[in-house]
Symmetry: C2
Subunit: 243 residues, 2 copies
């Protein structure tokens, strides 16, 4: 059975302007890989409703799961919840359970439940809330789309609560061999190996370190025996390389 | 005149699996902003020709410039050059000038100009080469698509040689005000300010630091006088905030 697939939409002008370096994509990629879910595509889009709608609709049709980060706070540039409702063609309104979460937080911190904070209780019709253990304002799931905060600590907490609810795939295994030779030396034998082990994914990731060119060869798959066999063969071709 | 626009395609299974944390997107975003070019969308795709072709074709039609990173080395998983040729529906072959660059590098390093290294001299018909001062194998430009290496040091050198050839836009200016209050307190006045200065982009980027919630308010635009006016008004609303 093939592994489940996923895509991500990173929402935020601050990523595209270079003000902020995104870390959520890398975090999500690692967590999904641990759970046997294959991240197949990521799109980074601006705080712009048509752009968000187009990305979400393209990806939710193409992949099993879609994750979004960013744009669910209380300010005028937080437009993700409305964009998700528009993408699905469904309504959105303040919901009692979400309002209760935001209100409890206000009570605990002595802040006012004003109109801005109530925006964070607006949820598309039929959504399931995602717990926010850090600042209470929830994320939500609609269909196969999981909508999460952009602040990394909150994003990570939300990922931790969503992933166990998803169908997991066979563990994605990998082994790496570091070869201190230029890729041009490695490429021929590696191509033959990739053809022989077409059921595995064999990638070559070049590096340059103190003037030395080398490559990490990563063999990925779900069958440990096959990966072992391919790696043993590769290590035999390049004796002295480091597992 | 509106600022020129750009998009990026990051190509590589290693980014999507979480093995590697991409740094090229953030680098390109900053460089483009410096040159008045607005990065509007980024897509991260796998080492898969149909996926690369679809992303490149969607983005080159929608934006003034497209930049790709990754997949132009000598190994079997380096398929970007062929994917670009397929996207444009043009031919690809080993070209004399590109071959001379790769051959000179082999001569200088005492390595063999083998079939794998010759792959790096394959260039789509009519492309312009992009200089690679680090390892010689060139990138290339076809139409409005600039194809560059994934290794960050080489990517950055290629960006440095491409950007001066592009039409620059009016400088994108920004000022930031840090306000140590929750976004829920800031949101109301900020929304009014954004409505009054609709010609500017006003973003609120929340942070959490040692249990304190705050936000950096970033005002962006190309008119320094307008940005100054908006920032002066904002600072007046939140006295004590840090410019």
């Amino acid at each position: 059975m093939p592994n489940p697939t996923a895509a991500m939409v990173v929402i935020g002008d601050e990523i595209l302007s270079g003000r902020t370096r995104d870390s959520n994509m890398h975090y999500l990629a690692r967590e999904l890989t641990k759970h046997g879910i294959v991240l197949r595509e990521v799109r980074v889009v601006a705080d712009d409703q048509p752009g968000i709608v187009a990305a979400v609709n393209a990806l939710r049709d193409a992949y099993d799961n879609v994750f979004t980060s960013g744009g669910i706070g209380p300010t005028h540039d937080d437009i993700t919840a409305d964009a998700i409702a528009a993408a699905f063609g469904i309504g959105i309104s303040i919901r009692d359970d979400a309002r209760a979460l935001v209100a409890a937080r206000c009570a605990a911190t002595g802040t006012e439940l004003n109109a801005a904070r109530l925006r964070m209780a607006r949820v598309p019709d039929g959504a399931t809330l995602i717990d926010n253990p850090i600042s209470s304002a929830p994320g939500f799931t609609v269909g196969n789309v999981h909508v999460m905060a952009g602040v990394p600590s909150i994003f990570e907490a939300m990922v931790a609560s969503v992933i166990p609810t998803l169908t997991a795939g066979a563990p994605l295994l990998s082994q790496t061999l570091r070869i201190d030779r230029g890729e041009g030396e490695i490429a021929g034998p590696l191509s033959d190996l990739a053809a022989e082990y077409a059921d595995l994914s064999i990638g070559s990731y070049p590096f340059q370190s103190n003037g030395v060119f080398g490559a990490n060869i990563v063999i990925r798959g779900t069958d440990a025996t096959r990966i072992d066999a391919a790696m043993t063969k590769l290590a035999g071709i390049f004796p002295g390389a480091m597992l």
